[in-house]
């Protein structure tokens, strides 16, 4: 028995030194499961990155794992470390607070850690941070609407799910609108980033407010529900519906100019997981480090630049 253990550990040692000698990078990717179109986009882009990068770099192995809740993700991180022996990790944490410790443990074992989108509460648990720009996500639509309506108008707002991310976006939007005394936010209610709830909230806004100039739906899925509610009520006072994130359906509408209410959008693409994986893998293959913070900018999408944001194969 003892001898057997010796043989196993010896061969494991040999294997790991071998792996080390060849400067191989085993990159673990831990992301949420596809439960709505945004996370579906995350999963799709992560697998795209795996396909492309593994083809280009024979020394690279990418392992993509999805988790449906924070505790599952924590277990997965342990598995990636002990079973898959990763030496680099790209993680999209479910929640900031509850995953800080598990990620810190992985980093303590010498794994290079890139955190995506949701920052950890203790930044020393990460080597690099890659994220979308939530402030611009709220700021750009507000500036755009202020410009379209010459600083005057009544706006109703749909919010997502109560989270820090949603607060950041709403505060940025509110901040810009406040600088225009003639612009007013009539109300802001939660539509839970989903089409059905957005439909109901919008129906009630339409009952309640006899005049609305613009809707900040704050998400392209919610914009779908909003548009249906408006067309059902046959209201013509609303001139703009601004979604968010740049889902392919919305981008296509802007490209084709097929809906007069949808003229612009703001990008917050799940593609940042692809960027994060690519940046991390290429840096680690060369033994380099990433900058501590990489912010993937949110950009205003209009008819002129819509084409570069259109990915017909992505589910998002």
């Amino acid at each position: 028995m003892k001898r057997l253990m010796c043989v196993i550990s010896a061969s494991l040692l040999a294997l790991s030194t071998l792996a080390h000698a060849a400067e191989k990078v085993t990159l673990g990717v831990s992301i949420p499961t596809a439960t709505h179109s945004f996370t579906a986009g995350i999963v799709w882009w992560a697998n795209e990155a795996k396909k492309e990068l593994e083809k280009q770099h024979p020394d690279l192995k990418v392992i993509v794992k999805t988790a449906s809740a924070a505790p599952e993700q924590a277990n997965q991180l342990q598995d990636l470390l002990t079973v898959n022996k990763i030496n680099a990790l790209v993680v999209f944490p479910f929640e900031s607070a509850s995953l800080t410790k598990p990620v810190a443990q992985v980093k303590a074992k010498g794994v290079y850690v890139t955190v995506v989108d949701r920052g950890l509460t203790d930044t020393s648990a990460q080597d690099a941070y890659v994220a979308g720009d939530n402030t611009a996500f709220g700021k750009l639509p507000a500036e755009y609407l202020a410009k379209q309506f010459n600083g005057k108008g009544d706006i109703v707002v749909l919010r997502g799910i109560p989270t820090t991310l949603d607060n950041e976006r709403f505060d940025a939007f509110n901040g810009v609108i406040k600088t225009h005394p003639d612009m007013k936010i009539l109300d802001a209610k939660y539509g839970n980033w989903n089409r059905d709830d957005a439909f109901k909230v919008m129906q009630d806004y339409l009952t309640r407010f006899k005049h609305i100039d613009a809707v900040w739906a704050a998400d392209d899925d919610m914009a779908v529900g909003v548009l249906k509610a408006i067309s059902q009520a046959k209201r013509t006072d609303i001139k703009e519906v601004f979604g968010g994130a740049g889902a392919k359906g919305a981008v296509k509408t802007i490209m084709d100019g097929s809906n007069p209410l949808i003229k612009a959008d703001v990008s917050y693409s799940p593609k940042f997981i692809y960027d994060a994986i690519k940046l991390t893998a290429e840096a680690r293959l060369k033994g380099e480090k990433l900058p501590a913070n990489t912010i993937i900018p949110s950009v205003l999408i209009t008819k002129d630049n819509a084409k570069q944001f259109y990915f017909p194969d992505s589910p998002f």
Binding site: A34, T35, H36, S37, T39, A40, G41, V43, W44, R159, P162, D187, A188, K189, Y190, N192, W193, N194, R195, D196, F199, K200, V201, Q203, D204, Y205, T207, R208, D221, V224, G225, K228, Q232, G249, P315, F316
Partner: protein
């Protein structure tokens, strides 16, 4: 031994008994008055039709759920089932609509509707068989299928949205947006389903058997009631109701996503229980369920029409009203 003459209840008790039957209705009326005072737009015809149309999905499912709960069962999977049926309908209609039947969009929609009804009844019957023949608790069977149905839909949709083709959406959308005599079609269907449900429960042998099984399954078995068959039928009936709800739901947005029908099971069960049906089975009313379902959507409608309470507290108001109404209609033990 002569029976003690205590069978005549005191007047106050009789009044309480009546209150228990009208409790949910009373709650609904109070809510409506409150809604009108808070925002005069609440009492408009258009708003009322909006609320009733929205209620139709949950209401129709809740009518079916009344039978399942009354027979002592439960179904946690209805929301996921609706999502999977919606997705399957859209896939089938898109396939037919761009293929052989491209010239007959009405036929395509008709086939889609048929699929919804058949799938619903089949899923329900499978639940029933697993519960009666497989002798697995209904809670576990439907908890399992809750996961299965939604996962299959998410897989079919690649995590994104399944969207109905434009030409088909145009043909199909009157089913949700159309109106007869000024009343939207989903409301008519909701009324029809509720009336048929009440008829089935109160005027047929099947209805009495359901109540008997819920009161005491063993006694029902001795009374030569075919317990397994009746139970399976209640689940198939609920599945059919889910199918009806889904065929009304699909033309609204023309799409199915992994969030379709999320938490419908809880809303439907809440509507049934708020409406006065005992969660342990045995007694219940279809009319109460209808009131319960309307009450739930009126609460969120009023919250949307006003902004006196922080949006963060919406769920708390809903919870509070549910408990108060349940208190009004509590049964005497």
């Amino acid at each position: 031994m002569p029976l003690a003459p205590t069978e005549t209840p005191r007047a106050s008790l009789r009044w309480l008994g009546k209150l228990h039957a009208v409790g949910p209705l009373l709650g609904l009326l109070v809510l409506c008055v409150a809604g009108t005072l808070l925002n005069s737009d609440f009492a408009t015809f258009d708003n009322m039709m909006n609320v009733l149309t929205r209620t139709a999905f949950i209401g129709i499912i809740a009518v079916g759920m009344t039978f399942v709960i009354m027979s002592g069962g439960i179904d946690l999977s209805v929301g996921s089932m609706a999502a999977l049926i919606a997705g399957s309908m859209i896939l089938l209609m898109n396939k037919l609509g761009t293929g052989t039947l491209a010239a007959h969009p009405v036929a395509v929609v008709g086939l889609g509707i048929t699929l919804a009804l058949v799938l619903g009844a089949v899923f329900g019957a499978i639940h029933g068989l697993l519960i009666t023949r497989g002798r697995i608790e209904p809670f576990i069977v439907t908890l399992g299928t809750l996961g299965i149905f939604r996962a299959v839909l998410t897989w079919l949709a690649d995590g994104g949205a399944l969207t109905l083709e434009n030409t088909l959406t145009d043909v199909y959308s009157p089913v949700y947006y159309g109106a007869v005599l000024g009343v939207p079609i989903p409301v008519w269907i909701f009324v029809l389903v509720a009336l048929l449900g009440a008829l089935l429960l109160n005027r047929t042998a099947f209805g009495r058997h359901v109540q008997a099984i819920g009161s005491n399954e063993q006694v029902a078995r001795y009374a030569a009631i075919r317990v397994d068959l009746v139970k399976t039928l209640t689940h198939a009936l609920l599945g059919l109701c889910v199918g009806i709800a889904t065929l009304l739901y699909v033309p609204r947005l023309g799409s199915a996503t992994p969030t379709t029908g999320l938490l419908w099971e809880l809303e439907a069960i809440a509507a049934v229980v708020v409406g006065g049906t005992a969660l342990k089975g045995g007694e219940g009313r279809v009319f109460g369920t209808v009131i319960g379902a309307i009450l739930l959507s009126v609460i969120s409608n009023i919250l949307n029409l006003t902004s006196i309470i922080s949006v963060y507290l919406n769920a708390a108001v809903q919870g509070g009203v549910i408990i108060v109404v349940a208190f009004l209609q509590r049964s005497r033990r």
